[in-house]
């Protein structure tokens, strides 16, 4: 008996055969587990020695040795602990920035591609304006404007959120980077709208919103997932750039802040802090890129060989 295999089940089977992608997924999962562990430890106020990054563990600028595998920084803190703890800021920021950019980009793109006309004009106008401003400049501007503000979400029943370092950064990145996904979804929706199944859905009485959310978005969902995994890397790097420019999270270590701090030490031959942070970024970027590519191969119906 053949069981019905959905598009998703099919894609997952194909993905599972891709060994390298599975290793990459393993690396990504390890990073995520570390971050979740950090949040859990903070939340339950458990003392875990290797998460106590602020503790002095040796002399300043100690070379990597048996006791401190990655050496120490200018205050004698463990570089290894800082690197591990830094995953929290990077991944949190990349995650929320992705969510925000998808939440803005997908509905706007879908509406523009589906309704065309006036709505399309407005959306296209907004994103061409946004994308005509240099990206870094835009993020910097947003980050500077949002810093130290409180966000009043009482109308949504969420209370007020004071924007600390981390939320400033992901808001700034999220609010400026929805353009690509919006453009992608708009083009794809325009293409799918011409397909007969949309006409068929209209012919049995679906409303416009139902067509968009129940018929079009599931059909372009693979693009959202692919874009999520590939742009996650970009957001991790954006955080690094912002921290490097002094606009990132101040109170806990992040890879960007580590690189920023190590930049002045590097000429003096203290290479280990820079190396540790860079390696951490390199590993997750590589894993996400390989996994994202494999995901695209398995999810994109055009590349699919049945």
């Amino acid at each position: 008996m053949i069981k019905g295999r959905s598009y998703w089940a099919d894609s997952l089977r194909q993905l599972r055969k891709h060994t390298l992608a599975m290793y990459s997924l393993g690396i990504i999962v390890v990073y995520i587990l570390v971050v979740m562990f950090i949040y859990l430890a903070n939340w339950t106020k458990t003392d875990v020695s290797f998460l106590d990054w602020n503790q002095q563990v040796g002399k300043e600028y100690e070379k990597p040795n048996k006791q401190n595998i990655l050496g120490t920084d200018f205050l004698g803190r463990s570089v290894l602990r800082k690197t591990i703890y830094g995953a929290r800021v990077s991944l949190t920021i990349a995650f929320w920035a992705s969510i925000i950019s998808i939440l803005i980009g997908v509905p706007l793109g879908a509406a523009a591609g589906y309704f065309r006309g006036f709505i399309d004009d407005i959306v296209v106008w907004i994103y061409t304006t946004l994308s005509s401003i240099p990206y870094i400049l835009l993020i910097l501007a947003f980050a500077l404007v949002l810093r130290g503000k409180t966000l009043n979400l009482n109308s949504l029943g969420l209370g007020t959120i004071s924007l600390s370092g981390i939320s400033t950064v992901y808001l700034a990145i999220g609010l400026t980077s929805w353009v690509d996904i919006c453009r992608l979804i708009r083009a794809e929706v325009m293409k799918h709208k011409q397909r007969e199944y949309i006409l068929a859905a209209l012919s049995y009485g679906c409303s416009n919103s139902r067509i968009i959310f129940r018929h079009l978005i599931p059909n372009v969902f693979h693009l959202i997932i692919i874009s999520f995994s590939l742009r996650f890397v970009g957001f991790i790097q954006a955080e690094v750039i912002l921290s490097f420019l002094g606009l990132g999270e101040k109170n806990s270590p992040s890879w960007g802040a580590m690189i920023d701090a190590a930049r002045l030490d590097l000429p003096k031959g203290y290479w280990w802090e820079m190396t540790a942070a860079t390696a951490a970024i390199f590993l997750i970027s590589l894993a996400l890129n390989i996994f994202g590519d494999a995901l695209r191969d398995s999810l994109d119906p055009k590349l699919k060989v049945q």
């Binding site: 069981k3 007969e196 059909n219």
Partner: protein
Amino acid sequence: MAENNTLLSVRNLSTFFDTEQGPAKAVQNVSFDIKSAETFALVGESGCGKSVTALSIMRLIPHPQGRIVSGKISFKNHNILELTEKRMRTIRGNKIAMIFQEPMTSLNPVFSIGFQIAEAIRLHQRKKSSRAWSMTEEILEKVHIPDAGRRLYEYPHQLSGGMRQRVMIAMAISCKPSLLIADEPTTALDVTIQAQILDLLDELQKSENMSILLITHDLGVVAQRADNVAVMYASKIAEQCSCNELFKNPLHPYTQGLLNSRPQLGTRQNRLNTIAGNVPEPLNFPSGCKFHPRCPIGYNDKRCQTVEPELREVSPNHYAACWYAKK
């Protein structure tokens, strides 16, 4: 209900598409009636306005390029063209359903077929999803899909063309519509499957007591299935009568040409007859009778070249738009 049980009455329907070169007159002045439980066929070449007529009835003309310019479409004595979009949605799928030419692309590829049929049911009837699901299975059995309980969980790419068309039909009849518009339902299928699908439509028409608007370019299909026929040429109806009459006594030279170009069973022919020339472009219709450049009778006739003939009753219940049509 209306006198003489007319279900759908289309009067002087004109639908234009705005293009950069001006309006393309896809449908002009089309009128016909469909009685309940009859099969009405709309025949014509590609691009003559058959499908646009059907989409106009569903009010699904692509916006904003296309628009219904004038006319009246009465369905159960309500003018469809005056309904709000919300009311129209309760008619689409529920009272008037449609099946399309391409079964390969008419189903959403990411949902199982059971889900899609159940969606059509749930949109129009307040049914629990478990009830809708069991109704779905019954409907699939009704369109003769073997092993319906298992097929519910399958996806469109796992079904053959004929199966998919059956699924489309199942979706269309799921709410027991009184009118089914079948837009070239068998064009994309091979001949044996064609006959099966048409038999299925016949059977459902009898059991569900619905009318069918059959859009086709296949005269063979028309001969077997239709009660009444309208032949369309270049956005207008050229001839309209009962099916028997059309094949016995075609009046319009275009219809005669179509019938002559069919292969004859039992006679030896070297080449099939054709109608010379091409279908005119909707942006560039000829003056006078739109068929005159290709017409064997009126090619050189001054009147055919300048004055367009209106559809007139040549003999009882037999209408033709030709100056030369005689009893």
